[in-house]
């Protein structure tokens, strides 16, 4: 009897040690194969002269691709656009999302309907988003021009996406539209986790609505906002598909961003070596920003 229980105990302990890894291994192995291995391959390709239509040509060039990128004018233009793009899209999404969340947190009869509908842009395929905004911005028949003309804000129709001066701004508006529901939903969840009693105590002490917002609401949702901004930074960095469909990076280079430039280099020029180098550079820049952000927000939260 004791012998048997000892054996089952030993087996159980062995199971306790092996089982967690056994249950994890399929997921880990697959991600190693389809995520980490390809990533290393990108780094490897970036160190080679690799153009796809010359299949046998895979020569080691060291850091030449990176040097070429740093002296490539288009690289710097794309970098500038990337900075503008991320530094305007994310704050705009955050502010609009915050306003929406504060409204949705109030009580009004049709709140459930509003909450369900606000998410629609988030669920749409980026291609469809691009399509409908191209139609809205259409220079001849688009509704954007029509509305602005009727209100007398502009004198003649503007070709929003074909004009280098307005193309990037137009795309930023589209991306803001696409992404702000995400912030609204996240921040709303944060708002609802703040205990009602805080507000009751504050208003007994005579704190104004603005002071309550500043001292209770904002600290209460700061954690959620920081997480949301972090997730969104990465998402926005990935969302070049909207740009690709709307303008393809044009007119000229006026809507080129780094991920888009890397993609175009590889896709149209089949220059996988150079494209990989730009992708690696972009990833490193993004990582630096993310790490810096994490350190700053980590301190702020403490």
């Amino acid at each position: 009897m004791t012998h048997v229980s000892e054996r089952t105990a030993r087996r159980a302990s062995l199971g306790r040690h092996v089982l967690p890894y056994a249950m994890l291994s399929p997921a880990v192995l697959v991600t190693l194969a389809i995520v980490f291995f390809p990533m290393i391959q990108t780094a490897w390709m970036s160190l080679h002269d690799y153009v796809l239509f010359r299949p046998n040509d895979f020569t080691w060039v060291g850091l030449d691709n990176f040097k070429a990128a740093l002296s490539d004018e288009v690289f710097w233009i794309s970098l500038k656009h990337t900075i503008i793009w991320m530094c305007t899209t994310i704050p705009a999404q955050l502010l609009l999302g915050l306003a929406t969340a504060l409204l949705l947190n109030q009580e009004f009869p049709w709140r459930p309907v509003a909450r369900a509908l606000i998410i629609i842009p988030w669920a749409l395929p980026s291609v469809v988003i691009a399509l409908m905004w191209v139609w809205i911005y259409d220079s001849n028949y688009g509704i954007a021009n029509e509305l602005l003309l009727r209100m007398g804000l502009i004198q003649q129709a503007i070709p929003w996406l074909a004009d280098p001066d307005t193309a990037l701004a137009s795309i930023i508006l589209t991306l803001t539209w696409q992404g702000f529901p995400f912030f609204a939903v996240m921040i709303l969840a944060g708002l609802q986790s703040i205990p009602q009693s805080y507000y009751e105590a504050a208003s007994i002490d005579g704190a104004s609505a603005w002071r309550q917002f500043w001292h209770i609401t904002l600290p209460g949702i700061s954690g959620v906002m920081m997480t949301a901004v972090l997730l969104r930074m990465i998402w926005v960095a990935n969302s070049f598909d909207v740009i690709f469909v709307m303008t393809g990076g044009g007119p000229g280079y006026s809507t080129h961003t780094l991920p888009l430039y890397a993609f175009i280099k590889a896709r149209t020029n089949l220059d996988f070596g150079y494209g990989s180098a730009i992708a690696v550079l972009f990833t490193m820049l993004l990582m630096v920003v993310v790490l810096f952000y994490l350190r700053r927000t980590g301190k702020a939260v403490e």
Binding site: M23, A123, V224
Partner: protein
């Protein structure tokens, strides 16, 4: 601001009206697209889109001449495949993360978080080269694999938060009654988090359905998903906005409907981790 009940008029001015404005901004483009899609091609540019003399001719043309049905089928295969791969690999992994303490747990969890941090452009080039070598270009499998790079870490993240919500005492009770770990997982934990599994599956379905860049790069003549088809429409039927917007509506329909169905559960799962910090 929560204590004193505002008067009805004040509420309408400060809450209802701003909310309506934001909703108009949110839904306007979509409704405009819908309105365009039910307008006649001939009158679209002269009279503009309108609800009067609505027509479904754009939709019938879409399926008859453009062959949208095949694209829908391709998208369906890829999306369902990704759901199966993503869920089956992540359930045991999530259970392991949720219930056990073991060496390397932090690192492994971090690894799955980190995957989401890398920009997609870093993966798309090597995956293309890889699929070319394996001869998988222009197959459903290639797209399922590519979509799984996002689906697996995402569903692990979601499943961990759902399984954490189920008390450990339940699986322990099942094991005292003679179940093994895996039986406890299958008979007790899985049924309880079924709603969560369904929500996660639907979210994976939506993201795979909506995915465009992988579909463009790894697909081709044989396998052309709906998103690529819509984009090709833009090139081919440049000014036929009735047809184009009809394509957009059809392409967006499954994802929109599914999203509205599960949004409540999905959002609670998504935000749980973030709110708890």
């Amino acid at each position: 601001m929560a204590l004193h009940k505002p008067t009805k008029l004040k509420r309408i001015l400060t809450v209802d009206l701003p909310m309506l404005a934001i909703l108009a901004f949110t839904l306007g483009p979509y409704l405009w697209m819908f309105l365009t899609s039910i307008s006649r091609q001939e009158t679209l540019f002269t009279e503009g889109p309108s609800l009067l003399n609505a027509t479904i001719e754009n939709y019938t043309r879409l399926f008859r001449t453009v062959g949208f049905a095949d694209n829908l089928l391709d998208s369906l295969i890829v999306a369902v495949g990704t759901v199966v791969v993503g869920l089956s690999l992540s359930i045991t992994a999530a259970y392991s993360f949720s219930r056990f303490n073991f060496k390397g747990k932090r690192i492994l969890m971090l690894q799955f978080l980190l995957i989401n941090m890398f920009p997609l452009v870093l993966l798309i080039l090597p995956l293309f080269v890889l699929m070319r070598v394996l001869g998988l270009l222009d197959t459903h499998l290639a797209l399922i694999i590519a979509n799984s790079t996002v689906a697996i870490p995402f569903s692990i993240w979601m499943m961990v938060s759902y399984i954490n919500g189920i008390p450990r005492s339940l699986d322990e009770a099942a094991m005292t009654d003679g179940c093994t770990r895996l039986q406890a997982l299958r008979r007790v934990v899985l049924p309880l988090c079924l709603p969560g599994i369904i929500a996660t599956g639907i979210y994976i379905f939506i993201t795979s359905w909506n995915e465009y860049l992988y579909a463009l790069t790894l697909g081709g003549r044989e396998v052309r998903t709906i998103t690529v088809a819509v984009q090709t429409l833009i090139g081919e039927y440049e000014v036929q906005w009735g047809l184009l917007t009809a394509g957009g509506i059809v392409g967006a329909m499954p994802a929109t409907v599914l999203f509205l169905l599960v949004q409540k559960r999905l959002i609670s799962g998504l935000t749980q981790g973030a709110v708890k910090g």
